[in-house]
């Protein structure tokens, strides 16, 4: 673990704290819920899964919006972002617009579905906003060029894939809960592709950051070998990737109907846990480059 003594602050690699410690922890949850809810809505829209749409919308609005609200501390602060012209340059401001439009259009679409009136053009527009909701968190972090772990074009892609993957898992959960076997079989195929895509993308992301800037190397070393390595190897690799991958292989070989439902639920839970843990590591291990010129510090 890197332990900076007070006088070494910013002389050595310094981890960011504001977005993971104290109230900052809410932002970690907020991004997770927002993207998970949008992912569930996005996937459910392809299968006309009303429960998935509704639950996705609720996760995004109640859990995602609620944690964002708690983070900022006052509802009027949302309003202040909304009425400013910050969207021209700020991804947080753009994200607020994406989430707002997604929630409004999603509510209208769900309302129309309850009235049995299909509205495909509206759904397409809502899905576009759901996609933007999933990707904006990655762009928010990608814009921070002082933190090499975040400042990579792979991060928004990783967040989109993990959001859609999480959404597909929850869609499978709703299919299992409602007994919709056809939906379950169709989503299972998506999950296989998304899980493999997520694994490849995560590996490429860590490797590219590791061999990029020195601060990126420090971040990846902290994740893989440092204080937070148990989170990577247990929560992300063993529970979040290996276990769902095992269940996916089992269901592929034996068929979804032959796979124990309890095992599927466990795999879904672990997959989501792994996604959450991955996001935690990315936030927790974002290291700034030392402020002073390189001849002054050593690591």
């Amino acid at each position: 673990m890197i332990q900076n003594r007070p006088y070494e602050f910013m002389v050595k690699y310094t981890p960011q704290r504001e977005w993971i410690e104290r109230r900052g922890i809410l932002l970690w949850l907020a991004f997770f819920f927002i993207e998970l809810g949008a992912g569930l809505f996005f996937i459910s829209s392809f299968f006309n899964n009303l429960w998935g749409l509704l639950i996705g919308w609720l996760i995004c609005s109640v859990l995602g919006g609620g944690t964002h609200l708690l983070y900022l501390g006052h509802p009027l602060r949302f309003w202040r972002i909304f009425i400013s012209s910050g969207w021209k340059t700020s991804w947080i401001s753009r994200g607020l617009y994406f989430v707002s439009f997604f929630l409004i259009l999603g509510a209208v679409h769900i309302g129309l579905l309850f009235g049995a009136t299909p509205a495909t053009p509206l759904l397409i527009v809502t899905d576009i906003f759901a996609f933007l909701v999933m990707i904006y968190g990655g762009f928010v972090m990608n814009y921070v060029n002082g933190i090499a772990l975040w400042n990579t074009a792979l991060l928004p892609i990783l967040y989109v894939v993990s959001g859609i993957w999480g959404g597909a898992e929850l869609t499978l959960a709703t299919a299992l809960a409602t007994g919709a076997t056809g939906l379950g079989l169709a989503v299972e195929e998506w999950i296989r592709i998304l899980l493999i895509g997520f694994i490849i993308l995560l590996a490429v992301y860590f490797i590219s950051v590791r061999y990029g800037l020195p601060a990126g190397g420090v971040s990846v070393r902290e994740i893989a070998l440092g204080r937070w390595s148990p989170v990577l190897w247990v929560a992300v690799v063993a529970l979040g990737i290996a276990l769902p991958l095992g269940v996916v292989i089992l269901s592929f070989l034996a068929g979804l109907e032959a796979t124990p439902v309890a095992l599927l639920y466990i795999a879904i839970f672990c997959g989501l846990l792994g996604d959450l843990a991955t996001r935690y590591l990315i936030l927790r291990c974002g290291y700034y480059h030392p402020i002073v010129p390189s001849h002054v510090y050593s690591y």
Binding site: Y7, R23, S84, G86, T89, W91, V144, N145
Partner: protein, 216 residues
């Protein structure tokens, strides 16, 4: 016009005068600093060198903090000073993240006093009236823009007249800091920057800082 600062590391003795002057000038609450000294050691025995880097907001020409601000609370003036309007800040801390120099501070502990449990000192009470910092917002060095503005209004020249010059500059006993207009080729800071090869911190970030260091 673009205000800027030159810090001569050959002269800095690490006395913390600038840090204290800044805290006093802006009535900064406990545990917050707009001006800091980064101290480290380099080299191996017996040729060890103590390195002192005074750091403050770089008032970048391309400030990342202003770009990411969702409410426009971080403002860049025409004279290059980057400041924060506390009335607009929503405390999202995106600017804290985006600043590669880590010079921004989120102010969350509004009621904290310097002497815990003993109430505010007279100085702290005056500070809360004269220079109120809003809890739940971000703050940082503003190049003592109040001093500059008041001085310019009174016909004084920042960087030359002490009343119109940032507190950290005039308090430096070693004269390690220089302040002036970087756009004026005949100003002291421009000449020093050119002749002594002033270097900004991390130019690779593309922020074009207004604070330059004369290296040892």
């Amino acid at each position: 016009m673009r205000w800027g600062m030159i810090i001569d590391l050959n002269k800095c003795v690490g006395c913390y005068s600038c840090v204290i002057a800044c805290k006093q000038e802006h009535f900064l609450p406990p545990k917050t600093f707009w001006c800091r000294l980064l101290i480290s050691e380099s080299g191996n025995f017996p040729t060890v060198t103590k390195e002192i880097y005074p750091v403050l907001c770089n008032h970048c020409a391309n400030p990342k903090c202003a770009e990411v601000c969702p409410t426009g609370a971080t403002i860049q003036r025409e004279d290059g000073i980057v400041w924060i309007d506390g009335n607009k800040c929503v405390g999202c801390r995106y600017c804290v993240m985006a600043c590669p120099y880590q010079v921004r501070t989120y102010y969350s502990d509004g009621d904290r006093e310097y002497f815990l449990g003993q109430g505010l000192t007279e100085f702290e009470e005056i500070g809360k009236k004269l220079y109120p910092h809003q809890t739940g917002t971000v703050f940082k060095c503003n190049f003592c823009m109040e001093r500059i503005d008041a001085g310019v209004r009174n016909g004084l020249k920042p960087g030359v007249d002490p009343e119109a010059t940032p507190a950290c500059v005039i308090s430096c006993p070693a004269n390690a800091r220089y302040f002036g207009d970087l756009d004026d080729p005949f100003s002291e800071v421009s000449i020093m920057k050119k002749e002594k090869k002033g270097q900004p911190l991390h130019p690779e970030f593309g922020t074009e800082p207004s604070v330059y260091y004369i290296l040892r």
